[in-house]
Symmetry: C2
Subunit: 443 residues, 2 copies
């Protein structure tokens, strides 16, 4: 087998240095070694195109990298990352890069929902690539799973909470019974909604994402104009209450559904049963529910916005595409770095919290003695609760001594320290029995 | 750019024709056209290796395909799909295929958790590939997202409900307060637990998956022997009750956690706060929770077992790897078929259900009249509820007529029919007002 020539470095042109772009620039700078290792060649950030050179920028990034000449930047980059937003000049710049066979990664839902199919075709034609995982539900991997993981299945339906702002608003209306205007104002105060919330509350942001999802789920190309769209501005506290009465909750869903002869794309306030996984998606989170012929019902859940979160998705696309560039098809690129990695450690090196249930002597001072054992090993206690129960009574009677049950929940501590606590408790005179020890996670 | 030669067909050797293998064989047979289109070349199933030719087999599959000579089958296949399970002969057969540079797809967690790293290296060395999405959480896309989508991030922790049998048992203990033995027996009766449930209840099945997940999340290679493992056999109804008292629920979690100097891998019954997304995973479902530096908290949810569900994951791997084979690296394989696909349809062609709230005349016969409108358009009613509310009283007083509120939830029906119902209701004399119309999904 002939080895493909491995490039010494790949140049990266970043278009946009705002909320997302600044994070991408920071991570490419701070984690340069990590990227070099994962890609198999260094990623060299050649410049960051912005509108104005006068704004304050990311401290971690070399100020000399900023430029207003996006066209020059795109000219000879191996990888172009577009995070400017809007149709122009993003579209022309991306086209130019794709015509040279470059790797292009974008987070631009507006652009992909209008011209995605045409740009993808251009990428294929010239041997380049176009990825946009960040454009839908930010950090949640959904486009790649639809395209690759479900490539052997038939997707019937994709249904998602695709906009954090509206989910935050509807969630508050549901929880507090508050009115729409009130909650919108609060969301704006908290930074969950923009000063001009039109694109969010009218459903246009979600509609763009539905068009992109439908193309990957069903094949073919769909545009935002094909999405029937109703926003949440007409939803009243009464609607929310009537839904609650019927065991339902109002969510703004984006839905793409396969019919025999086509697909229906829509965004509208939707009533969802309380026990449905989508009903449990709170605040500004996003989730995408997928129904496929064989896989059944899948759900993908996570943060749907944010600079760092979106940067994670962008960089996932960058690394994956760059690996392909570096290793070519002869060797499967996705195995790069498969042998490097951390060693396995024994569980004593884990850090966890525990719920420890004890049966202890019912006498003054016992709680203090028990607490002292935890303190000795530097394990702090989150909650401690004492109470008898029926089984204790029976045991107590049999043993002829009076006992109570003690439930202790610790804060996170080294497993070794927790083990030492349990050993000492088992040996303590006032502890009759360590009834159970279970680890707690997810707090 | 020179076009790579596109193979006329790719041969597929299937090792194993059991629960999963039989579904893969059926789908490759029944959906041959779909696969040919998605891959860019037909997938030709050349044979199915089994232990015995005497068992009844899938009706949809040509009986002449079954063979007991797995070695011959593997000899010249482009793609080898291993669904036999166990270490040998699976390992030797896969090695043989990889040495020829073949595409290999497996669902064998036992094998990957012991020899995954070595087999991956063999694949890379000979220009072949090895994928095993089905080995962890069946149809849930998790290995590919960890490897590709999170390739630009640092994963701190992966935490999952990775075994449906134990989740079913713990869920029942939590819900019904039943004892472990009792629920295990029920699970066996219902087919959720095997006659010999050891691998499941002792956590070995989950441990194998943790080892595989850790390798993809952190890089490097981990084996099942490095996973500290405690099963659920010691969990009592009392533990479950004590957890509930503290707002927690018992789940068997598989956890892989990055530390500064290594990674800790563990499987054990774990207390999870009721409001954590993992706490809501019921019955035999699986879910994987991922915490990454920038992406934040992600969750992947779906069925963790089943012949068809697992076959979906296997075929996703097959199609993706086969696309790479067909198109090579010159053209990004994942764009194959990007232009074929269904047309967009107007929303009137959607099928949905609606909650319709009406203010109607408070008189006998009105319910019958309203119901007649639905019947006329063939829309059937799931629930109808009548009741006054404060706002109605005010309106009624102002209007000098007495009204009641009517809430109707329909079954699924064509959108056009639902629209016609609403139009007729608006025009009906006994209907004073159509207060709200909202679609319902997820029932
Ligand atoms: N923010 C999120 O949470 C999120 C999530 C998912 C996807 N996205 C998508 O990611 C993209 C970027 O979003 P963002 O929130 O980072 O936007 P942003 O904060 O508004 O940043 C836009 C950046 O692009 C630059 N820019 C805009 N027009 C330009 C032009 N004509 N020439 C040169 N530079 C130009 C701006 O320069 P100045 O700094 O000089 O103004 C700014 O640095 C959008 O497509 C968005 O939809 C964002
Ligand atoms: N079932 C699930 O839900 C699920 C989910 C995820 C992953 N998996 C994995 O997928 C794999 C297959 O599982 P399964 O449930 O389909 O197993 P299964 O029903 O037991 O089927 C195994 C198949 O392999 C054949 N086989 C076994 N040993 C063989 C040998 N030495 N030579 C030739 N053929 C042999 C058997 O032949 P006979 O038919 O003649 O016995 C049978 O057709 C396992 O690695 C499992 O861990 C299964």
């Amino acid at each position: 087998m002939t080895q493909p020539t491995i490039p010494t470095a790949l140049s990266v042109a970043l278009l946009g240095g705002g909320t997302v772009g600044s994070q991408v620039a920071r991570l490419l700078t701070e984690d340069a070694d990590l990227f070099a290792e994962r890609v198999g060649a260094p990623l060299h950030l050649t410049g960051i195109a912005v509108r104005s050179l006068d704004r304050p920028r990311q401290a971690a990034v070399d100020p000399a990298l900023y430029t207003t000449d996006a066209e020059a930047l795109v000219e000879d980059a191996d990888i172009v990352v577009e995070l400017m937003g809007g149709i122009e000049p993003a579209r022309s710049l991306i086209e130019r890069a794709l015509r040279r066979g470059a790797v292009v990664v974008t987070g631009n839902k507006a652009l992909l929902a209008r011209h995605g199919a045409q740009l993808s075709a251009l990428a294929a034609e010239h041997g380049g690539s176009l990825d946009g995982e960040a454009a839908v539900a930010a950090a949640i991997p959904i486009l790649r799973p639809l395209r690759d993981s479900l490539a052997g299945d038939r997707v019937h339906r994709v249904m998602g909470i695709l906009n954090g702002t509206t989910n935050f608003i509807l969630d508050r209306m549901d929880t507090d019974g508050a009115a729409y205007d009130e909650v919108l104002a609060e969301a704006q105060r908290l930074g969950y909604a923009e000063a001009d919330p039109t694109a969010d509350v009218q459903g246009h942001d979600a509609a763009a994402k539905v068009a992109i999802l439908a193309g990957l789920a069903f094949g073919g190309s769909f545009t935002i104009d094909q999405v029937d769209c109703t926003g949440i501005a007409a939803i009243t506290a009464q609607d929310s209450a009537a839904a609650a009465e019927a065991g339902l909750v109002v969510k703004l869903l984006g839905i793409a559904e396969r019919q025999v002869d086509g697909a229906v794309l829509r965004v509208h306030p939707t009533l969802v049963p309380r026990e449905h996984p989508l009903a449990a998606v709170r605040g500004a989170f996003n989730a995408v529910f997928v129904e496929a012929e064989n896989a059944g019902e899948l759900m993908f859940y996570g943060p749907g916005a944010g600079g760092r979160e979106t940067a994670s998705a962008v960089l996932g696309d960058v690394v994956t595409a760059a690996r392909h560039r570096v290793l070519g098809s002869a060797m499967r690129a996705d195995r790069a770095g498969a042998t490097a990695g951390p060693p396995a450690l024994p569980i004593t090196q884990a850090s966890t919290s525990e719920m420890i249930v004890l049966r202890v002597c019912d006498a003054p001072g016992v709680l203090r003695d028990v607490a002292a054992v935890f303190a000795e090993h530097d394990v702090s206690i989150e909650a401690m609760r004492q109470g008898p129960d029926a089984s204790d009574d029976a045991v107590a009677e049999a043993e002829g001594r009076s006992s109570v049950r003690l439930r202790v929940i610790t804060h996170r501590a080294p497993q070794a320290a927790l083990d030492a606590v349990v050993a000492d408790l088992s040996a303590a005179e006032s502890v009759y029995e360590v009834v159970s020890v279970l680890r707690v996670e997810g707090k």
